[in-house]
Protein backbone atom coordinates (compact mmCIF):
# COMPACT_ATOMS: atom_id res chain seq x y z
CA UNK A 1 0.00 0.00 0.00
CA UNK A 2 2.87 2.35 0.80
CA UNK A 3 4.67 1.89 -2.53
CA UNK A 4 2.00 3.54 -4.74
CA UNK A 5 1.60 6.39 -2.22
CA UNK A 6 5.36 7.07 -2.25
CA UNK A 7 5.72 6.69 -6.02
CA UNK A 8 2.58 8.55 -7.13
CA UNK A 9 2.25 11.03 -4.27
CA UNK A 10 5.87 11.91 -3.48
CA UNK A 11 7.74 11.10 -6.72
CA UNK A 12 9.97 8.58 -4.94
CA UNK A 13 11.68 6.20 -7.40
CA UNK A 14 10.17 2.72 -7.14
CA UNK A 15 13.64 1.23 -6.54
CA UNK A 16 13.77 3.20 -3.25
CA UNK A 17 10.08 2.93 -2.40
CA UNK A 18 10.03 -0.89 -2.35
CA UNK A 19 12.83 -1.44 0.24
CA UNK A 20 11.54 1.46 2.40
CA UNK A 21 8.07 -0.09 2.34
CA UNK A 22 9.50 -3.50 3.24
CA UNK A 23 11.33 -1.98 6.21
CA UNK A 24 7.98 -0.57 7.35
CA UNK A 25 6.55 -4.09 7.10
CA UNK A 26 9.30 -5.33 9.46
CA UNK A 27 8.64 -2.46 11.88
CA UNK A 28 4.90 -3.12 11.84
CA UNK A 29 5.44 -6.84 12.37
CA UNK A 30 7.77 -6.32 15.38
CA UNK A 31 5.66 -3.67 17.11
CA UNK A 32 2.29 -5.35 16.70
CA UNK A 33 3.50 -8.93 17.21
CA UNK A 34 4.83 -8.01 20.65
CA UNK A 35 1.26 -7.37 21.83
CA UNK A 36 -0.21 -10.24 19.82
CA UNK A 37 2.23 -12.80 21.24
CA UNK A 38 1.76 -11.52 24.79
CA UNK A 39 -2.01 -11.91 24.49
CA UNK A 40 -1.61 -15.32 22.83
CA UNK A 41 -3.30 -13.95 19.72
CA UNK A 42 -0.51 -15.14 17.42
CA UNK A 43 0.05 -18.89 17.10
CA UNK A 44 3.85 -19.30 17.39
CA UNK A 45 3.87 -22.99 16.43
CA UNK A 46 1.70 -22.53 13.35
CA UNK A 47 3.86 -19.56 12.36
CA UNK A 48 7.02 -21.69 12.44
CA UNK A 49 5.45 -24.43 10.28
CA UNK A 50 4.12 -21.98 7.70
CA UNK A 51 7.30 -19.84 7.76
CA UNK A 52 9.32 -22.89 6.75
CA UNK A 53 6.98 -23.46 3.78
CA UNK A 54 6.94 -19.75 2.87
CA UNK A 55 10.71 -19.36 2.83
CA UNK A 56 11.05 -22.59 0.80
CA UNK A 57 8.47 -21.20 -1.63
CA UNK A 58 10.33 -17.89 -1.83
CA UNK A 59 13.54 -19.68 -2.76
CA UNK A 60 11.69 -21.79 -5.34
CA UNK A 61 10.07 -18.60 -6.67
CA UNK A 62 13.49 -17.00 -7.00
CA UNK A 63 14.68 -20.01 -8.99
CA UNK A 64 11.69 -20.18 -11.38
CA UNK A 65 11.23 -16.39 -11.65
CA UNK A 66 13.19 -16.31 -14.89
CA UNK A 67 10.85 -18.92 -16.43
CA UNK A 68 7.59 -17.13 -15.55
CA UNK A 69 6.25 -13.85 -16.90
CA UNK A 70 5.78 -11.59 -13.83
CA UNK A 71 2.83 -9.87 -15.57
CA UNK A 72 0.91 -13.15 -15.81
CA UNK A 73 1.66 -13.96 -12.16
CA UNK A 74 0.53 -10.44 -11.18
CA UNK A 75 -2.80 -10.84 -13.01
CA UNK A 76 -3.36 -14.30 -11.48
CA UNK A 77 -2.54 -12.92 -8.03
CA UNK A 78 -4.90 -9.97 -8.63
CA UNK A 79 -7.74 -12.29 -9.58
CA UNK A 80 -7.08 -14.50 -6.53
CA UNK A 81 -6.93 -11.50 -4.18
CA UNK A 82 -10.22 -10.14 -5.58
CA UNK A 83 -11.94 -13.49 -5.01
CA UNK A 84 -10.47 -13.74 -1.50
CA UNK A 85 -11.68 -10.20 -0.73
CA UNK A 86 -15.22 -11.02 -1.89
CA UNK A 87 -15.16 -14.23 0.18
CA UNK A 88 -13.99 -12.23 3.22
CA UNK A 89 -16.76 -9.68 2.76
CA UNK A 90 -19.52 -12.26 2.39
CA UNK A 91 -18.55 -14.94 4.90
CA UNK A 92 -19.83 -14.80 8.45
CA UNK A 93 -18.06 -17.53 10.29
CA UNK A 94 -19.23 -18.65 13.72
CA UNK A 95 -15.60 -19.02 14.87
CA UNK A 96 -14.81 -15.38 14.12
CA UNK A 97 -15.14 -14.11 17.66
CA UNK A 98 -13.42 -17.16 19.18
CA UNK A 99 -9.74 -16.88 19.99
CA UNK A 100 -8.96 -20.19 21.63
CA UNK A 101 -6.93 -22.62 19.62
CA UNK A 102 -8.82 -25.41 17.94
CA UNK A 103 -7.42 -28.46 16.17
CA UNK A 104 -6.13 -27.34 12.80
CA UNK A 105 -7.77 -28.60 9.64
CA UNK A 106 -6.06 -29.16 6.30
CA UNK A 107 -2.50 -28.55 7.48
CA UNK A 108 -1.01 -29.96 4.22
CA UNK A 109 -3.16 -27.48 2.26
CA UNK A 110 -1.95 -24.67 4.51
CA UNK A 111 1.67 -25.69 3.99
CA UNK A 112 1.16 -25.93 0.22
CA UNK A 113 -0.60 -22.56 0.14
CA UNK A 114 2.19 -20.94 2.15
CA UNK A 115 4.73 -22.37 -0.29
CA UNK A 116 2.79 -20.75 -3.17
CA UNK A 117 2.47 -17.50 -1.17
CA UNK A 118 6.25 -17.46 -0.66
CA UNK A 119 6.79 -18.00 -4.38
CA UNK A 120 4.39 -15.19 -5.31
CA UNK A 121 6.06 -12.86 -2.77
CA UNK A 122 9.42 -13.59 -4.28
CA UNK A 123 8.28 -13.04 -7.90
CA UNK A 124 6.09 -9.97 -7.34
CA UNK A 125 7.66 -8.39 -4.25
CA UNK A 126 4.41 -8.36 -2.26
CA UNK A 127 3.73 -9.74 1.22
CA UNK A 128 2.22 -13.19 1.61
CA UNK A 129 -0.62 -11.95 3.86
CA UNK A 130 -3.23 -11.68 1.08
CA UNK A 131 -2.80 -15.41 0.45
CA UNK A 132 -2.09 -16.68 3.96
CA UNK A 133 -4.87 -15.00 5.94
CA UNK A 134 -7.72 -16.27 3.70
CA UNK A 135 -6.00 -19.67 3.58
CA UNK A 136 -5.77 -19.94 7.36
CA UNK A 137 -9.33 -18.75 7.97
CA UNK A 138 -11.16 -20.50 5.15
CA UNK A 139 -9.15 -23.71 4.76
CA UNK A 140 -7.54 -24.33 8.14
CA UNK A 141 -10.27 -23.09 10.49
CA UNK A 142 -8.08 -20.53 12.26
CA UNK A 143 -10.06 -17.63 13.80
CA UNK A 144 -9.66 -14.43 11.74
CA UNK A 145 -7.83 -12.40 14.38
CA UNK A 146 -5.44 -15.25 15.15
CA UNK A 147 -4.78 -15.72 11.42
CA UNK A 148 -4.09 -12.00 10.92
CA UNK A 149 -1.79 -11.82 13.96
CA UNK A 150 0.07 -15.01 12.97
CA UNK A 151 0.51 -13.83 9.38
CA UNK A 152 1.73 -10.44 10.62
CA UNK A 153 4.34 -12.12 12.80
CA UNK A 154 5.52 -14.36 9.94
CA UNK A 155 5.90 -11.57 7.42
CA UNK A 156 8.47 -9.79 9.60
CA UNK A 157 11.06 -12.51 9.12
CA UNK A 158 10.73 -12.75 5.34
CA UNK A 159 10.56 -8.98 4.88
CA UNK A 160 13.70 -8.57 7.03
CA UNK A 161 15.55 -10.98 4.75
CA UNK A 162 14.36 -9.02 1.69
CA UNK A 163 15.44 -5.68 3.19
CA UNK A 164 18.83 -7.15 4.04
CA UNK A 165 19.21 -8.19 0.39
CA UNK A 166 18.27 -4.65 -0.79
CA UNK A 167 20.61 -3.07 1.76
CA UNK A 168 23.40 -5.40 0.62
CA UNK A 169 22.93 -4.05 -2.91
CA UNK A 170 22.90 -0.45 -1.62
CA UNK A 171 19.24 0.17 -2.56
CA UNK A 172 17.93 1.05 0.92
CA UNK A 173 17.53 4.80 1.45
CA UNK A 174 17.67 5.38 5.22
CA UNK A 175 16.75 9.11 5.11
CA UNK A 176 13.53 8.10 3.32
CA UNK A 177 12.82 5.10 5.57
CA UNK A 178 13.48 6.77 8.96
CA UNK A 179 10.34 8.97 9.26
CA UNK A 180 8.18 6.23 7.70
CA UNK A 181 9.34 3.66 10.26
CA UNK A 182 8.73 6.06 13.17
CA UNK A 183 5.15 6.60 11.98
CA UNK A 184 4.55 2.89 11.35
CA UNK A 185 5.88 1.92 14.80
CA UNK A 186 3.56 4.42 16.50
CA UNK A 187 0.57 3.30 14.42
CA UNK A 188 1.27 -0.40 14.93
CA UNK A 189 1.60 0.01 18.70
CA UNK A 190 -1.74 1.82 18.94
CA UNK A 191 -3.44 -0.48 16.44
CA UNK A 192 -2.35 -3.68 18.19
CA UNK A 193 -3.85 -2.39 21.45
CA UNK A 194 -7.14 -1.61 19.71
CA UNK A 195 -7.46 -4.92 17.89
CA UNK A 196 -9.10 -6.74 20.81
CA UNK A 197 -11.73 -4.04 21.20
CA UNK A 198 -12.62 -3.99 17.50
CA UNK A 199 -15.36 -6.25 16.18
CA UNK A 200 -14.08 -9.05 13.96
CA UNK A 201 -16.63 -8.25 11.26
CA UNK A 202 -15.16 -4.75 10.99
CA UNK A 203 -11.59 -6.10 10.87
CA UNK A 204 -12.64 -8.58 8.20
CA UNK A 205 -14.11 -5.79 6.07
CA UNK A 206 -11.03 -3.63 6.52
CA UNK A 207 -8.83 -6.53 5.50
CA UNK A 208 -11.05 -7.19 2.47
CA UNK A 209 -10.74 -3.52 1.45
CA UNK A 210 -6.93 -3.75 1.67
CA UNK A 211 -7.06 -6.98 -0.34
CA UNK A 212 -9.13 -5.25 -3.04
CA UNK A 213 -6.61 -2.39 -3.19
CA UNK A 214 -3.74 -4.87 -3.57
CA UNK A 215 -5.71 -6.78 -6.21
CA UNK A 216 -6.40 -3.57 -8.18
CA UNK A 217 -2.71 -2.65 -8.02
CA UNK A 218 -1.64 -6.10 -9.24
CA UNK A 219 -4.26 -6.23 -12.01
CA UNK A 220 -3.20 -2.76 -13.16
CA UNK A 221 0.52 -3.61 -13.09
CA UNK A 222 0.09 -6.96 -14.83
CA UNK A 223 -2.53 -5.67 -17.29
CA UNK A 224 -0.43 -2.68 -18.41
CA UNK A 225 2.63 -4.90 -18.84
CA UNK A 226 0.69 -7.44 -20.93
CA UNK A 227 -0.94 -4.63 -22.98
CA UNK A 228 2.47 -3.07 -23.75
CA UNK A 229 3.81 -6.42 -24.84
CA UNK A 230 0.82 -7.08 -27.15
Amino acid sequence: MLVPVLVLGFDVPISQAVPASLLCVVANSCASSASHVERKLANVRLALVLELATVSGAIAGGVVAALLAPAVVAVAFGVFSSLAAVQMMLSRSQQDEALEEEPLRNLPLGIGGSFVAGGISSILGVGGGPVKVPLMTAAMGVPFRVAAATSNMMVGVTAAASVAAYAWRGQLSLPLAAPLVVGVLAGATIGSRMVLQARTALLRRLFAAVLLAVAAQMLWRGGVSLWMRA
Partner: protein
Protein backbone atom coordinates in the same frame (compact mmCIF):
# COMPACT_ATOMS: atom_id res chain seq x y z
CA UNK B 1 29.30 -46.24 55.97
CA UNK B 2 32.17 -48.23 57.51
CA UNK B 3 34.18 -49.46 54.49
CA UNK B 4 36.05 -52.16 56.54
CA UNK B 5 32.76 -54.08 57.00
CA UNK B 6 32.52 -54.68 53.29
CA UNK B 7 36.12 -55.81 52.65
CA UNK B 8 36.53 -59.42 51.36
CA UNK B 9 32.74 -59.96 51.07
CA UNK B 10 31.80 -62.32 48.30
CA UNK B 11 33.99 -64.28 45.90
CA UNK B 12 35.11 -63.25 42.45
CA UNK B 13 32.60 -64.31 39.81
CA UNK B 14 29.72 -64.61 42.28
CA UNK B 15 26.78 -62.18 42.51
CA UNK B 16 27.68 -59.09 44.56
CA UNK B 17 26.32 -59.13 48.16
CA UNK B 18 24.39 -56.17 49.54
CA UNK B 19 26.68 -53.79 51.48
CA UNK B 20 26.75 -53.88 55.31
CA UNK B 21 26.21 -50.76 57.46
CA UNK B 22 26.04 -50.00 61.19
CA UNK B 23 22.77 -48.27 62.14
CA UNK B 24 22.25 -45.63 64.86
CA UNK B 25 21.74 -48.36 67.54
CA UNK B 26 25.06 -50.04 66.70
CA UNK B 27 23.55 -53.04 64.90
CA UNK B 28 25.07 -54.37 61.69
CA UNK B 29 22.49 -54.37 58.89
CA UNK B 30 22.39 -54.75 55.15
CA UNK B 31 21.25 -51.89 53.00
CA UNK B 32 18.10 -52.61 50.98
CA UNK B 33 19.12 -53.75 47.49
CA UNK B 34 19.27 -51.00 44.90
CA UNK B 35 16.60 -51.72 42.25
CA UNK B 36 17.95 -52.55 38.84
CA UNK B 37 17.43 -49.97 36.15
CA UNK B 38 18.67 -46.43 36.12
CA UNK B 39 21.48 -45.80 38.62
CA UNK B 40 20.55 -43.48 41.49
CA UNK B 41 22.14 -40.07 41.03
CA UNK B 42 21.94 -36.93 43.07
CA UNK B 43 21.50 -33.99 40.66
CA UNK B 44 24.40 -31.60 41.02
CA UNK B 45 23.99 -27.84 41.34
CA UNK B 46 24.58 -27.16 37.65
CA UNK B 47 21.96 -29.71 36.63
CA UNK B 48 19.45 -28.08 38.96
CA UNK B 49 20.21 -24.67 37.51
CA UNK B 50 19.78 -25.95 33.95
CA UNK B 51 16.46 -27.54 34.93
CA UNK B 52 15.27 -24.31 36.56
CA UNK B 53 16.25 -22.29 33.49
CA UNK B 54 14.45 -24.79 31.26
CA UNK B 55 11.28 -24.53 33.38
CA UNK B 56 11.43 -20.74 33.40
CA UNK B 57 11.85 -20.66 29.62
CA UNK B 58 8.97 -23.07 29.13
CA UNK B 59 6.57 -21.19 31.43
CA UNK B 60 7.44 -17.65 30.35
CA UNK B 61 7.81 -18.51 26.65
CA UNK B 62 5.39 -16.03 25.10
CA UNK B 63 6.44 -13.31 27.52
CA UNK B 64 10.09 -13.65 26.44
CA UNK B 65 9.16 -13.51 22.76
CA UNK B 66 7.04 -10.41 23.35
CA UNK B 67 9.88 -8.76 25.28
CA UNK B 68 12.36 -9.40 22.47
CA UNK B 69 9.98 -7.99 19.84
CA UNK B 70 9.05 -4.96 21.93
CA UNK B 71 12.64 -4.17 22.90
CA UNK B 72 13.74 -4.36 19.26
CA UNK B 73 10.88 -2.16 18.05
CA UNK B 74 11.27 0.44 20.81
CA UNK B 75 15.08 0.67 20.56
CA UNK B 76 15.01 0.89 16.79
CA UNK B 77 12.15 3.41 16.84
CA UNK B 78 14.02 5.58 19.35
CA UNK B 79 17.14 5.58 17.18
CA UNK B 80 15.15 6.38 14.02
CA UNK B 81 13.30 9.19 15.88
CA UNK B 82 16.66 10.56 17.08
CA UNK B 83 17.96 10.60 13.52
CA UNK B 84 14.83 12.46 12.35
CA UNK B 85 15.15 14.97 15.21
CA UNK B 86 18.84 15.55 14.43
CA UNK B 87 17.94 16.60 10.91
CA UNK B 88 16.36 19.76 12.35
CA UNK B 89 19.79 20.88 13.60
CA UNK B 90 22.17 22.80 11.30
CA UNK B 91 24.20 20.39 9.19
CA UNK B 92 27.75 19.90 10.49
CA UNK B 93 30.16 17.02 10.15
CA UNK B 94 29.23 15.84 13.67
CA UNK B 95 25.46 15.93 13.18
CA UNK B 96 25.78 14.16 9.82
CA UNK B 97 27.86 11.45 11.46
CA UNK B 98 25.40 11.14 14.37
CA UNK B 99 22.43 10.85 11.96
CA UNK B 100 24.24 8.19 9.97
CA UNK B 101 25.16 6.22 13.09
CA UNK B 102 21.64 6.40 14.52
CA UNK B 103 20.09 5.25 11.23
CA UNK B 104 22.48 2.36 10.78
CA UNK B 105 22.03 1.23 14.37
CA UNK B 106 18.25 1.47 14.01
CA UNK B 107 18.06 -0.52 10.79
CA UNK B 108 20.43 -3.20 12.13
CA UNK B 109 18.33 -3.59 15.28
CA UNK B 110 15.10 -3.72 13.32
CA UNK B 111 16.37 -6.39 10.93
CA UNK B 112 17.86 -8.43 13.75
CA UNK B 113 14.65 -8.42 15.85
CA UNK B 114 12.53 -10.91 13.81
CA UNK B 115 15.50 -13.25 13.52
CA UNK B 116 16.04 -13.02 17.29
CA UNK B 117 12.34 -13.83 17.75
CA UNK B 118 12.78 -16.88 15.53
CA UNK B 119 15.80 -18.06 17.53
CA UNK B 120 13.95 -17.44 20.82
CA UNK B 121 10.90 -19.38 19.54
CA UNK B 122 13.15 -22.34 18.81
CA UNK B 123 14.82 -22.15 22.23
CA UNK B 124 11.55 -21.73 24.14
CA UNK B 125 9.78 -24.57 22.33
CA UNK B 126 12.90 -26.74 22.61
CA UNK B 127 12.91 -26.11 26.38
CA UNK B 128 9.31 -27.32 26.46
CA UNK B 129 10.45 -30.51 24.77
CA UNK B 130 8.85 -29.61 21.46
CA UNK B 131 12.00 -30.33 19.44
CA UNK B 132 10.08 -30.52 16.17
CA UNK B 133 9.36 -26.78 16.33
CA UNK B 134 12.92 -25.99 17.40
CA UNK B 135 14.04 -27.82 14.26
CA UNK B 136 11.55 -25.83 12.14
CA UNK B 137 12.97 -22.59 13.57
CA UNK B 138 16.50 -23.74 12.77
CA UNK B 139 15.33 -24.72 9.27
CA UNK B 140 13.79 -21.28 8.65
CA UNK B 141 16.99 -19.53 9.79
CA UNK B 142 19.08 -21.82 7.60
CA UNK B 143 16.86 -21.25 4.55
CA UNK B 144 16.87 -17.48 5.11
CA UNK B 145 20.65 -17.53 5.25
CA UNK B 146 20.69 -19.57 2.03
CA UNK B 147 18.25 -17.16 0.35
CA UNK B 148 20.25 -14.16 1.45
CA UNK B 149 23.48 -15.75 0.34
CA UNK B 150 22.01 -16.52 -3.06
CA UNK B 151 20.65 -12.97 -3.38
CA UNK B 152 16.94 -13.89 -3.47
CA UNK B 153 14.31 -11.61 -1.98
CA UNK B 154 12.56 -14.06 0.33
Amino acid sequence: MDESLNEDRGLPGEPELPPLVIDEKGRVRTLPPVPLGEPLRVPDRMEEEVQTLRERLAHGGERYLAKILRAGAVASGALFATSVALRVLPVTRHTAMAIDLAQQGAVSLLLFTPVARLVASGVVLGAKGEWRYALYAAGVIGLLGLALGAGFNA
